[in-house]
Amino acid sequence: MGPLAINELISENTNLFLAFIIGIGFGFILEQSGFSSSRKLAGVFYGYDTVVLKVFFTAAITAMLGLLFFSLFGWIDMDLVYVNPTYLTSAIVGGMIMGAGFIIGGYCPGTSFCGASIGKIDALVFIGGLFIGVFIFGIGYDLWDGMYMAKFLGSPKVSETLGLTDGVFAFLLIIVALGMFWVAEWAEKKFPRAEY
């Protein structure tokens, strides 16, 4: 059955319309969870507000389990679902640059759109920075395309790399996440902030 667009059960325009609807859900939930506030987002790095960690890992686990079950029931063909290819060097270096951007700017791209949608001027300026950063990458592409294309590993699953089945990996990830949630609850009590 799924993915609907790839199996041509819906037209390209319906797919784009659903992208818009899914985006509304994405933005609504991000905002309802507090991701429109940079001070709330940055809290995870100081322990006073760990909403990022809780939402991020709960979402990843929910979607991962959902896909495992959908696949098991034959509702989705996982061979047709896009898996980002792994280029190890750029995944690490790009991630580190993004991490620095996160702690300096207080947003990531998705959350900055969410913040800007409710009137956060700092979020709007962050988006301006995003455009500049992407533009710099674009004009200087020839300078770093070697790094961009280095250490290509295909599209491996983390479970394969670790020599585990998907189910066992998912189970272990849930245990790890529960441990992190426990630490997060503890940290919020230990480093409380009255108002921000």
Partner: protein
């Protein structure tokens, strides 16, 4: 006075509930389109469109444009992520309106000025924009959506983002606490 004003603002939802709902949205994206959520891809589409519009000849020579064309045929603005991000703006606005959080302001810690906050936001944005291109997606596209499909790259990028942010947190603490 301040108290009655605060009461009108609804509080945020439980983060675990938010996570489950966000996970369902991510699952829906995979079920409908065979791909996850994302944000930086929409910015890339816009930048590519701007480069082609402003300077078609130099854009044609750019390896960045070729790389984009290989992965996205057709009009760069008629892509899944562009429509999804337009939805994010609408969804965020609706949520803010519903909760009474619509307000033009520069949010910053009492330790810094608005001006400094905006400069840091700009700098952080530039870094994040650049890093998202090098890392083939941002927190939502590479890390979150990648994790849902058990992508090795998704997990590596997630650890690099959070690890670096924690490593640098001490040096930027005055900006947040």
């Amino acid at each position: 006075m301040a108290k009655s004003k605060e009461r009108k603002v609804r509080s945020y939802i439980n983060p675990y509930l938010g996570g489950v709902l966000l996970g369902i949205v991510l699952l829906a994206a995979n079920f409908v389109a065979g791909r996850g959520l994302g944000a930086s891809g929409a910015i890339k589409s816009t930048v590519v469109t701007a480069m082609v519009t402003v300077s078609p000849s130099s854009a044609e020579k750019s390896g960045f444009l070729q790389e984009f064309r290989e992965s996205h045929a057709g009009n760069p603005m008629k892509t899944w992520l562009v429509f999804e991000m337009m939805g994010v703006l609408v969804g965020g606005f609706l949520s803010g309106a519903f909760a009474g959080r619509l307000k033009l302001k520069v949010e910053h810690s009492p330790g810094i000025t608005s001006r400094k906050r905006l400069l840091l936001a700009l700098g952080g944005g530039v870094l994040f924009g650049f890093g998202s291109q090098l890392g083939r997606g941002c927190t939502s596209g590479s890390a979150l959506s990648g994790m849902a499909v058990l992508s090795l790259g998704g997990f590596v990028t997630m650890m690099a983002i959070f690890g670096t942010a924690y490593a640098f947190a001490y040096f930027f603490r005055k900006n947040w606490i």
